[in-house]
Symmetry: D3
Subunit: 260 residues, 6 copies
Amino acid sequence: MRLALSTWPEVEAYLETSKGIIVPIGSMEQHGPNGLIATDAICAEEIALATGTAHGVLVGPTITLGVAQFNLDFPGTVTLRAETLMAVIRDYVRSLVRHGFERVFFLNGHGGNIAPANAAFQDLYADASFRADRAGASPLRCRLRSWWEYEGANTLRHDLYGEDEGLHATPSEVAITQAAYPDAIKRVEMAKPARLSPGYYRDFGGDRHYDAVHHRHWFPDGRIGSDPSLATPEAGRRLLEILVPDVIADYEAFLAEDTP
Amino acid sequence: MRLALSTWPEVEAYLETSKGIIVPIGSMEQHGPNGLIATDAICAEEIALATGTAHGVLVGPTITLGVAQFNLDFPGTVTLRAETLMAVIRDYVRSLVRHGFERVFFLNGHGGNIAPANAAFQDLYADASFRADRAGASPLRCRLRSWWEYEGANTLRHDLYGEDEGLHATPSEVAITQAAYPDAIKRVEMAKPARLSPGYYRDFGGDRHYDAVHHRHWFPDGRIGSDPSLATPEAGRRLLEILVPDVIADYEAFLAEDTP
Amino acid sequence: MRLALSTWPEVEAYLETSKGIIVPIGSMEQHGPNGLIATDAICAEEIALATGTAHGVLVGPTITLGVAQFNLDFPGTVTLRAETLMAVIRDYVRSLVRHGFERVFFLNGHGGNIAPANAAFQDLYADASFRADRAGASPLRCRLRSWWEYEGANTLRHDLYGEDEGLHATPSEVAITQAAYPDAIKRVEMAKPARLSPGYYRDFGGDRHYDAVHHRHWFPDGRIGSDPSLATPEAGRRLLEILVPDVIADYEAFLAEDTP
Amino acid sequence: MRLALSTWPEVEAYLETSKGIIVPIGSMEQHGPNGLIATDAICAEEIALATGTAHGVLVGPTITLGVAQFNLDFPGTVTLRAETLMAVIRDYVRSLVRHGFERVFFLNGHGGNIAPANAAFQDLYADASFRADRAGASPLRCRLRSWWEYEGANTLRHDLYGEDEGLHATPSEVAITQAAYPDAIKRVEMAKPARLSPGYYRDFGGDRHYDAVHHRHWFPDGRIGSDPSLATPEAGRRLLEILVPDVIADYEAFLAEDTP
Amino acid sequence: MRLALSTWPEVEAYLETSKGIIVPIGSMEQHGPNGLIATDAICAEEIALATGTAHGVLVGPTITLGVAQFNLDFPGTVTLRAETLMAVIRDYVRSLVRHGFERVFFLNGHGGNIAPANAAFQDLYADASFRADRAGASPLRCRLRSWWEYEGANTLRHDLYGEDEGLHATPSEVAITQAAYPDAIKRVEMAKPARLSPGYYRDFGGDRHYDAVHHRHWFPDGRIGSDPSLATPEAGRRLLEILVPDVIADYEAFLAEDTP
Amino acid sequence: MRLALSTWPEVEAYLETSKGIIVPIGSMEQHGPNGLIATDAICAEEIALATGTAHGVLVGPTITLGVAQFNLDFPGTVTLRAETLMAVIRDYVRSLVRHGFERVFFLNGHGGNIAPANAAFQDLYADASFRADRAGASPLRCRLRSWWEYEGANTLRHDLYGEDEGLHATPSEVAITQAAYPDAIKRVEMAKPARLSPGYYRDFGGDRHYDAVHHRHWFPDGRIGSDPSLATPEAGRRLLEILVPDVIADYEAFLAEDTP
């Protein structure tokens, strides 16, 4: 069930059955020679919709713009500042809380959103925490999960692409977009990527990259250690299939957490 | 050409031919008994895409969340504060300027966005205006146009629905969403709306509504003087058709404005 | 009755008779070869005071600084950023609400204030709308009316000056300042202005101008299509006279709006 | 010379003779049983205009709203938050710098403005200080002087009223408003005030008061240790006369400070 | 009793005996040829700890970063913007209020903090003042006292160093750091300082300095009219000894102020 | 070498040898029945100082306040909002950049700082990334490393305490504070903690806790799965010893990263 394609009486009815919602969050940034600008937003949205459709969970409108300042030297990247994304998340969540939602599960497609999203949650909770009145405690709980945190998907990524998966503009994410938008598949030749060191994963995971000029100097065609020319729609479908049961289990465990 | 479904080299190539872009901007808010929450975002996006596809203009990712605080008493509405939307627009435009875009044409689907968007433009220009150096003048120009400003569409709205068009949750906007998402057409019975006074249009146009409790008190099912049960996908298609030539002419005149 | 020239017990007494107030809002910016920097502030204040004096309505202190970034290339212009004006309006209105005022009528003299003022109202209402508690609904209602929205004044402007009225540094606004400050009338020779196209009114109305360097390039002496050398104090007095009944009727209708 | 009543060519001409300007800054807050809400703004403006008129110094538009949160329990007080006043001062000064002004002298009428104004100056300077490029050093210098800092005025205040001068709603400031607005003189009987301790002056000088409910509890009619029933327009004129030579000497010394 | 070195149950127990706390606030900025970057933070902390230890008052964690933009041209200075320090103070005080503290006494070591701290207090109070509900009045009271405001210390400073005390990088403040950190005493030869005029004290007291390039131009080795080569640890100990009784008396008078 | 205990000429000399600095960042929050409020700040500072002393690296002043809103229901916790910590980090880093520092290594002691610190880095980089001029690329690089990310320390934590280490108020962090502040060791009896599930580590690692009332409900004495009664100063010394070589190697690799 998509919030965007629902009427308000339908949302009202949903709220009588559940206080939970899944919110996809992505990015609009370069994804290498053949990846779509919207790759991260599409991945998050497709996974969320597949899960929501299969299990009757409401899926909120996708937050399509994320924090991608390090990709600004590649034409087409549209980024928010971290503090802007925090404001967007704050207003979005406060809107949901206004309607009675209590558990907001962000399905994330972009590493650069992890820090600002978690910082935004801190300030949402802080609004309640600074108030001395325990009786008025907020029922709100937020969680952000990136789709590559799921074991099954990760194993499949490795099985499909090994070291060619890389860290950005990966064949897996491109594959998911190919499954979703078959008319927008781009065929581009590209060289084999250089291998990333384990240290690179440790230091720059979660897109902890420097500024845009640094970034393009190191990764001139936008890929980070990946070979997205290997992507296929079929691989995208397999990734979506393997993700849905993991996402729904995770979401349901989140809903089932006990209440103080 | 959709930025979201392009690669960065494709955007780079586009920039060699044009410095202009169309950015749809909508809202996620209740649209009466049978209107979709995403109505305003869908209308803006559909009109922009129809125009961009027909005339080779790049269409940026839709700003789906707008300022809709007055609808928060209806479940499902997700609003930004005006200052948050201003930050989103600022970052979005600054990203485009980074790539060399100079004329940003916002195709708007929601009255509540007009004030914050124009205020955001003022502050973007102010960044340049406060600098004393004339040589470093910014080439940026922004324009926001709401689709109901176009004569042809307005005449058609009146021809189709007369006074039943109303001000919010109108049959015309619902019709456009029906043309775009035929699987999401909702059939709901509803009473004939009360007529709005000319004074109401004058005072509350541009969604200059009060807070959410005021608003729902006056418009308990979310419609403002409209009968969206009259919407049909066919009417939506006609509206899109009549809009494209007007939008492209307006956009091209914007691009052709002379340069100081 | 001017708030500025009242004592607090006098304001307390006023509040027992009315919850309404008129707040003039203007700008400090160039107004062409013979117009005063304070033109917009003076116009708003004079109209508000004439109305308040005639009808016993409290007039708050004038917000003299507005958003006029596009005039910064002309010496003497003092502008606020849009977000600053929004903060000023927010604090001003919250102060009034603290005392029990419920209806705040902004009498506006500057197009550049329309967007930020309406955006500020949205965020003031949003503070209430985000709260779920309907019982605690805010009674606050704000309205901004620019004096050129009144039919009578507009007809008189046209009768007096025809196309020479123009869009900025108009003979009408200069005339009002001449009526108010006869010692500050400036006599300056100037060429006849170029005519503005209808498209210019549509696209740049509400002072939707670009940055300061753009603006001065197009309008090198600060006028926009106007001939303010035609202004006379007598015309200013006639405009004030014709405005008062329209303003008071509009204000009283605002006070008389029903309550949710 | 008043900026507000000048044209832009007049300001342009002034800038060829001087880079300095005087900016009055006041407050809109209760001033006891017979003091006007605008007392602080009027005092600052009158002193600045008397000085500017006598000595050909440009006087900018008065910042009429200051930080007066502690007076919000008295009807009519309109306050800015400190951070809002800082934004107003920042934009005002940056506008002046855009035109070539280098020395901005704030003539202050309200203790509650001292902290935020000086904090605003710090952040204006910080914009330059954070930049490493010494060549691009900012020529901007700001100074805030409250009119009661001048020896001559202080002696006269004491000679006129002794301990009845008090700290707020003083007979001296009310006298200045009576000289300026003789039609707005209010005659109200009031009890003799309680005497303030030296510790009160030390701890609460600069309006370092607590919140509004604290403040009204301690000073239920709004006066702080003063007897403003003693005010006369004649005393106001004497204060203005004695202030002008001190203000102009101070201002000229500020302009004459050497340049790094 | 140091909050930093306490457990939460110890703080809980303290709160049953007192609602007051002392918070040291300093700066990290150059202090001339032989002064430590942390001089202001050390002085504030040492005085607060000496007082707290002697009299059983809880001492909160030191705010070590202050507003020192004017010293940024000297390597090692770390400054906050005024608005950042205001946010730090706001969050700190709101945390204390959450636990039941009602009187927060800031012991200050840096002139540049006075304006932003007092501005921060205004906005903390404003949060309460804007609320109309008198019953919910905030019990919070804040005070900032700089250690050089105490008579005894000032007399001793003068007795020890006369005019060589100066305004910044004074031998007295350096002496306190020498008493506290004997291992970090630096011996540096330096010329006798130029004498400051009384006007300099009046205009630049409270660190009302211009930007960093201005500042270093006037004071190339960082001292302002002082000879810190005269500092001795013994003098530092004497200053601490003479300060403690004055600080505790002042603090206790603050706690004993009556309650509205 | 401690920046706080250095003079500005000493910092100037250091900068001729290195562009790198280590900045400890901690928190002031409850750490269970026997842990100090300052535990996280002390751990970060001790590790940084031990490293800096052994290897001649400059250590900046500790950021002692972090984001700990979830601990506000325990007396003594002092938290910043995430957006405030971001502002502190921004100003701190910009101060360092002003002096020529290019690589800023944050040694972190508190999970709740990870998200806001990385978000702050994003916005610092964004300031450069939004500028189109590649020649003016910023040399700034920031890294945040939490001390429990080091393999050696983690192994030792496990060897020393096994599952009793837990997630907050761990015996290891308490041990480090005992080594640093032997006079502040608290002996408190406490029950064995409940075991945490692996899911708890996954979902709440990096202190992704909900608000303060939630948090205290689940962990009523402040510990999260830990037995800090097992802490000893000796264990603290061992942890410090094992950390220094890992920190310095990591820091030096950071300095040695190549330059775009």
